[in-house]
Amino acid sequence: MSRKMPRMTLQTQLILGELLADPARRIHGFELCAATGLRSGTIYPILVRLEELGWLDSEWEAPEVHVPAGRPRRRYYRLSEDGAASARTALRAAEAGRLKAAARLRTAGA
């Protein structure tokens, strides 16, 4: 199951990059939209997919936080331990693919 990979679209890479910037940080959907500049309609399908693959953990905000703040509870996302490792590998692979393609373009141009 953990062998399965999400499609490494540029949007997925952006989200994984943002989450990997500080793997311990918990981030909620709106914040992720603002941080990556992606649309909510783009982000949620990717979050659903990543959570299904076990790369992401999500949890409700604790009542001690949201009740005094007087707002409904948020759902927070964070990379799971396996997820962080897989994400790092996947991002590196995507980066290598990009470099290889660029090199090929250069040789083709020359």
Partner: protein, 332 residues
């Protein structure tokens, strides 16, 4: 001409107190007006009126409430220290200690903090707020909200305590009305969006729908900026069909994948599949089975109509061939 119209502003106030105040007091009120008008020169209310209109309105309310000359003058000068370059020394030189001290206390006063029993200051603050609340629709929305709340929570009780039922009543009515208007705007703006989001989410599987709706509504309620809220919601609504499909597929996989997997591993199906593979591996074996079937179908059709039988002979074998090929590809 400017001076003429400016002078006429103070005349109703002077007329209002002329029977009650001595000539000296009337002169002081006129002087307070002149000083305030000079310092507020070039300043404008959010409503588009000249700023001096506001201190005069507060002073008129003070006069109507039967307050003394010091209070009326302080009402005229109440924003001079806070909103203009005028310093307390200047006021002290012009009007003496009593009025200056009152204006300074008034400037420092914030409802809910400090000197809660300074009745003079509270009285003028109430009258100041009364005029501000009458023209609050010109102020920014968030300020309308905070001022209306503050009025209801802190100032209306003070007005009742000071025995000013009319002021309390009007403040309460203005603040309540403003909050209703704001709530109506907020509700009206987002209700359609939220309805669309709820409706759209009906395509999602029930457990996921509960979770994501709660998550999204929390995001929408905690975010301040209404425009980004609406964008967030509508982008979600547009993505809902795809999201629903993903979640349903995920649910289907969870529920049936194991069943299908187990069934495929069970002996009857396993041997059946093996046998089918063996038959399909060769064309001969396939057609040994299919030829009698084809023949039977052709004979059955020929008994009814010879023409249809000919059509069947021409069309059926290629279809069966394609089916065999399809199965071979699948089972390989």
């Amino acid at each position: 001409m400017m001076t003429g119209s400016a002078q006429s502003l103070v005349e109703p106030l002077l007329a209002q107190v002329s029977g009650r105040f001595s000539q000296e007091e009337l002169d002081r009120v006129r002087h307070a007006y002149d000083v305030a008008a000079r310092w507020h020169e070039g300043q404008w209310r959010k409503s588009g009126q000249r700023y001096i209109v506001h201190p005069v309105a507060v002073a008129e309310a003070a006069a109507a409430a039967g307050l003394d000359c010091t209070m009326v003058c302080a009402a005229l000068l109440h924003d001079v220290l806070e909103d203009t370059a005028c310093g307390p020394e200047y006021l002290r030189a012009e009007f003496g200690e009593g009025i200056t001290d009152l204006v300074e206390r008034l400037t420092a006063f914030r409802p809910g903090a400090g000197a809660p029993d300074d009745d003079q200051v509270i009285m003028l603050t109430l009258l100041d707020r009364l005029h501000n609340m009458r023209t609050i629709q010109y102020v920014a929305t968030d300020k309308q909200l905070s001022k209306s709340r503050e009025t209801l929570d802190l100032l209306v009780p003070q007005a009742q305590r000071l025995g000013l039922p009319l002021v309390a009543e009007e403040l309460q009515e203005l603040a309540r009305h403003r909050l209703d208007v704001l709530a109506g705007q907020a509700g009206g703006d987002m209700t359609a969006t939220l309805c669309a989001l709820r409706l759209g989410s009906l395509t999602m599987p029930a457990p996921a729908r509960t979770r994501y709706l709660e998550e999204w509504l929390a995001e929408l309620r905690t975010s301040v900026d209404r425009r980004s809220c609406r964008r967030f919601a509508w982008q979600l609504i547009l993505a809902l069909p795809r999201l629903s499909f993903m979640l349903r597929k995920q649910q289907w996989d969870d529920r049936y994948a194991t069943i299908v997997h187990r069934a495929a591993a069970s002996p009857p199906w396993r041997y059946g599949r093996k046998a089918l593979c063996w038959v399909l591996q060769s064309q001969t074996r396939s057609w040994v089975l299919l030829a009698p079937l084809t023949a039977w179908i052709v004979i059955q059709t020929a008994q009814g109509n010879a023409g249809t039988a000919v059509v069947t002979v021409i069309t059926l074998p290629p279809v069966l061939c394609a089916a065999v090929k399809w199965l071979q590809d699948r089972l390989r």
